[in-house]
């Protein structure tokens, strides 16, 4: 009652109080307009620029008609798909354990995800170069244990990129799945058990379906980030592992072809946007974008 009185007394104050937040967003909006929206518009304008300042669609038709580029797109999608699959298979049981373990075990499991999550991607990729190189740590160990006679090639041939990408993107799968499993009502699978379901059945028919939005959010996030990934493919990949991102880099910095680089970039943004839209209709956009809630 007293709260209502308070609110009634200071109605004008409340109105003023409500108006202020809008002013407080203004700074960020101005900053985004200049440093985010403007560059994206510049990029857009370059994509449709032809020789002599005429507007043209030639860059786009060039990208779509040349088979060299479709190979790059296929390589990128294959890499992203494999990364997403491996992350789901490894990440789900890990997230399940995180959600159901006691506080001490949970701290340990969470630290093992959060430390790499916030560690420089460059430092981690460098570590994989040292681990997977021809004369690297892994080959040293495998040879000295007698498992292999010759060092095997793991770097610069696709395997290294795949390992490095799973390492970087695994937390993006674990965190949303953990978040949804932790909030799941533990009574639900228990009810299934009490009605005679085996633990496996209770998991398959109750827990798993209820956690699917988390899996969808994680898979969307991993796929989106994998498609646009630059550092790991550039560092661990070989000549056969050209992805969309490394192609943009080559086109801009080696070939100096700005209009074509801008066209590929916009195509990449369109692809990433489409993946997000697809994931968001299934799992909800907030679940995908709000991941950093855990940070």
């Amino acid at each position: 009652m007293s709260e209502v009185a308070l609110l009634l007394q200071s109605r004008s104050a409340v109105r003023a109080w409500r108006a202020r937040p809008r002013v407080m967003i203004a700074g960020v909006l101005g900053f985004y307009a200049l440093v985010y929206c403007l560059p994206m518009l510049v990029l857009l304008s370059w994509a449709f620029r032809g020789g002599g300042g005429v507007w043209t669609l030639a860059n786009l038709t060039h990208l779509l008609s040349d088979e060299t580029y479709s190979v790059v797109f296929v390589t990128t999608f294959r890499m992203a798909a494999v990364t997403t699959m491996v992350c789901t298979i490894i990440g789900y049981p890990y997230a399940y354990l995180l959600a159901t373990a006691g506080p001490k075990a949970r701290t340990l499991l969470a630290a093992a995800v959060m430390i790499p999550f916030w560690t420089s991607v460059l430092a981690r990729s460098l570590a994989w170069v040292i681990l997977l190189g021809r004369r690297g740590v892994m080959n040293d160990w495998l040879v000295s244990m007698g498992l292999i006679d010759q060092p095997i090639q793991m770097l610069f041939n696709g395997i290294g990129v795949q390992i490095g990408m799973v390492h970087v993107l695994l937390p993006f799968m674990v965190l949303p799945v953990w978040s949804i499993l932790a909030r799941l009502d533990v009574g639900l699978p228990m009810a299934a058990r009490s009605l005679g379901a085996t633990p496996l059945k209770a998991f398959l028919h109750v827990t798993l379906p209820l956690s699917m939005p988390g899996v969808t959010a994680g898979a969307t996030l991993v796929f989106m980030l994998a498609v646009g990934f630059y550092i790991t493919p550039a560092l661990l990949g070989g000549p056969g592992d050209i992805t969309i991102a490394t192609l943009i880099d080559t086109v801009i910095r080696d070939l100096l072809d700005w209009p074509f680089g801008a066209t590929i970039s916009l195509t990449l943004v369109a692809i990433v946007g489409a993946i997000f839209a697809l994931g968001a209709t299934i799992a909800g956009g907030g679940r995908i974008a709000g991941l950093e809630n855990h940070g």
Partner: protein
């Protein structure tokens, strides 16, 4: 412990080894006495750290990285904290869309952002300048600040602020003396992660950086393309230490609050 639980734990331990092995190995290798990357090192030494310290270019890159990241964190907090408060308090038409826009720089591929900024900054002669990097890094740090601080503002009871207002505090006074102290843990961890975002950034620096604006990650990148030098493992160890430090700072400040 049931059989399936044991299986889960075996899988989880293997995953933990996979997640932490590269970090452990690179730290250990950085203390190697020889220039070979053997693990575990047969002889330990700190010679790569000494050579790092003695190199003027590495020292300068380190100082530049640290200064840039501090300024970026500060700017991202100054812009981001009021905005996050506004986002959490206000309910207007299309605010979900606005939130999506504000978070989206983390989802747009870094190389596309870098290219857009490169094309914008080139005619403005901002390529290779500290200002260009500062603006670009702040854009990447802002979504993180917004997410962390807005979540804290939403958990905050609006009544305490109304109480301050009804006691005669102006809006600014209530914001500074009531809201800000209440969300301090979130501000600290947002600042730490904003710092880290700038400190570890590579792709933007490759496009927007120049010889006078070399950060640690950019120098690592340039060196690794040339030759895999043991000093790189020492710099990587420093980057990892800074990350773990930021993570600890954030965890500790949050734990203080909950207890």
């Amino acid at each position: 412990m049931s059989g399936s639980r044991l299986c889960l734990w075996i899988l989880a331990v293997l995953t933990m080894v996979f997640l932490l092995a590269p970090i452990v190995v690179i730290i250990a290798v950085s203390f190697n006495e020889t220039s070979l990357f053997t693990f575990p090192p047969p002889h330990w030494s700190t010679r790569w750290y000494v050579s790092l310290w003695q190199s003027r270019s590495w020292r300068e890159a380190g100082i530049f990285s640290f200064t840039l990241a501090s300024l970026v964190a500060l700017a991202a907090l100054c812009l981001g904290v009021p905005a996050a408060y506004g986002l959490a308090r206000d309910r207007f038409y299309g605010h979900k869309l606005l939130e999506g826009l504000l978070i989206s720089p983390t989802l747009v591929p870094a190389i596309v952002l870098a290219l857009g900024l490169y094309m914008l900054f080139s005619p403005m002669h901002l390529i290779g300048t500290a200002l260009g990097l500062f603006l670009a890094h702040t854009l990447l740090a802002l979504p993180i600040v917004l997410i962390i601080v807005a979540a804290a503002c939403r958990r905050l009871d609006p009544k305490i602020e109304l109480a301050a207002r009804s006691c005669g505090a102006t809006f600014a006074k209530a914001f500074c003396l009531v809201v800000l102290p209440a969300i301090r843990p979130a501000i600290i961890s947002a600042g730490a992660f904003a710092f880290l975002t700038s400190f570890d950034e590579v792709v933007l620096n490759l496009f927007l950086g120049g010889p006078s604006t070399t950060t640690l990650p950019k120098k690592i990148w340039e060196s690794v393309k040339f030759e895999l030098d043991p000093t790189l493992t020492a710099v990587s160890t420093i980057l990892i230490t800074v990350s773990v430090g930021a993570l600890l700072l954030s965890t500790v400040t949050r734990r203080d609050r909950s207890s």
